[in-house]
């Protein structure tokens, strides 16, 4: 079975993305402008992951309705995070809202 070729290949390409960049970029003096730009990476990446996951839960159709539990719970979680700034509370309460809402709308 070539599943070990698969695993090692996947591992190798992943390593080759992560490690050399970490080493090489550190050796090159970065202009301040680039450094500042890189600080927008976390919020931009997070938004790019979150928004499609709650707005397009099935992966193909945009669903803006109250029967979309992902969207409703996502909005509630965002409000909880905004008010509390507490990550664990956001996760736990967000999940509770999601499960209850899904039960109510019955999807």
């Amino acid at each position: 079975m070539n599943e070990f070729v698969l695993v090692l290949g996947m591992g190798l390409v992943t390593f080759l993305i992560r490690y050399p960049t970490l080493v090489l970029i550190g050796r090159i003096p970065l202009p301040d402008r680039v450094f500042r730009a890189l600080r927008y990476v976390p919020p931009a990446v997070l938004a790019a992951i979150i928004v499609p996951s709650v707005l397009i839960p099935d992966g193909t159709h945009i669903d803006v309705s109250i029967s979309n539990s992902y969207l409703i719970a996502g909005i509630v979680a965002a409000l909880i995070s905004w008010r509390t700034k507490n990550l664990l509370a956001t996760i736990v309460l967000g999940m509770v809202v999601f499960l209850i809402w899904r039960l109510i709308v019955g999807v």
């Binding site: 990476v41 992951i49 979150i50 945009i62 719970a73 965002a78 995070s81 905004w82």
Partner: protein, 245 residues
């Protein structure tokens, strides 16, 4: 000045909520891999050697779909390209570290550890001497727990197959929401988030998370442009706050 040990433990502690968010995924991954026909050994090896949740999931999905090994490896490369952005962001902070530090830090870099570590590095109010210990603490707790979750999933076998019914697929979204909101403190960040969101939805039909890359880069560009237009503030990005409770 915090000791290496204190930094390491603080990094691990700040990552606990994210570990909880990753828990269902690790279990679902282990279970899904087994039911797809991957051997337990290959499943364990994948979590050790690849250590990238979404790529592992997609890899298993492609195995199930009968896609050839070279294509799966190529897909993994594309899916994980975003890690180059993370490495590039963190590189200036770790450039003075020796290889014996850079190797494990680079090897175990994930979405979660990136957000935790970059937040801590950007916090100019704390002493930077041992922040790599914080980074390592964050990565190591994620790595160890991901292995354990994978094993639990393997043993759970078929019980967790229907992940969407349990709502476990929402766990990652809600975790990331809790990480994003505290970052949104300035206009440029807000612009970055809005543009990234809109582009991500428009580019969503593109395969292999290419849309995610385009959206992230658009968001970064929007942040830079918005920053240039506003009056110059030294603390434009407020990612200096601890994200842990």
């Amino acid at each position: 000045m915090p000791t290496p040990r204190a930094e390491f433990l603080a990094g691990a502690r700040a990552t606990i909520p994210l570990v909880i968010g990753a828990l269902p995924f690790g279990i679902i991954f282990g279970a899904a891999a087994i039911t797809t026909g991957l051997s337990p050994l290959a499943t364990i090896a994948m979590s050790i050697f690849v250590f990238a949740g979404s790529a592992e999931f997609i890899g298993v999905g492609l195995v199930k779909a009968g896609v050839s090994v070279p294509i799966i490896i190529l897909t993994t490369f594309v899916v994980n390209l975003r890690h180059a952005l993370y490495s590039a962001t963190l590189a200036p902070y770790v450039k003075k570290l020796p290889q014996r530090w850079l190797l494990p830090l680079g090897y175990m870099l994930t979405d979660e550890a990136f957000v935790v570590a970059s937040t801590h590095y950007a916090d100019s109010t704390s002493d930077p001497t041992y922040k790599h210990w914080y980074f390592l603490g964050s990565e190591l707790i994620l790595f160890v727990c991901w292995q354990i979750f994978t094993w639990v999933g393997i043993f759970a076998g078929t019980h967790f197959q229907d992940a969407t019914r349990l709502g476990l697929d929402f766990a990652l979204s809600v975790t990331f929401i809790g990480m994003l909101i505290p970052l949104m403190k300035s206009r440029p960040v807000l612009a970055s988030v809005i543009v990234a969101s809109v582009v991500a939805v428009i580019a969503n039909p593109l395969p292999n998370k290419i849309g995610l890359m385009i959206a992230a880069l658009s968001g970064v560009a929007a942040g830079v442009i918005a920053e240039g237009r506003g009056k110059p503030e030294p603390e434009t990005i407020a990612i200096s706050e601890e994200i842990a409770p």
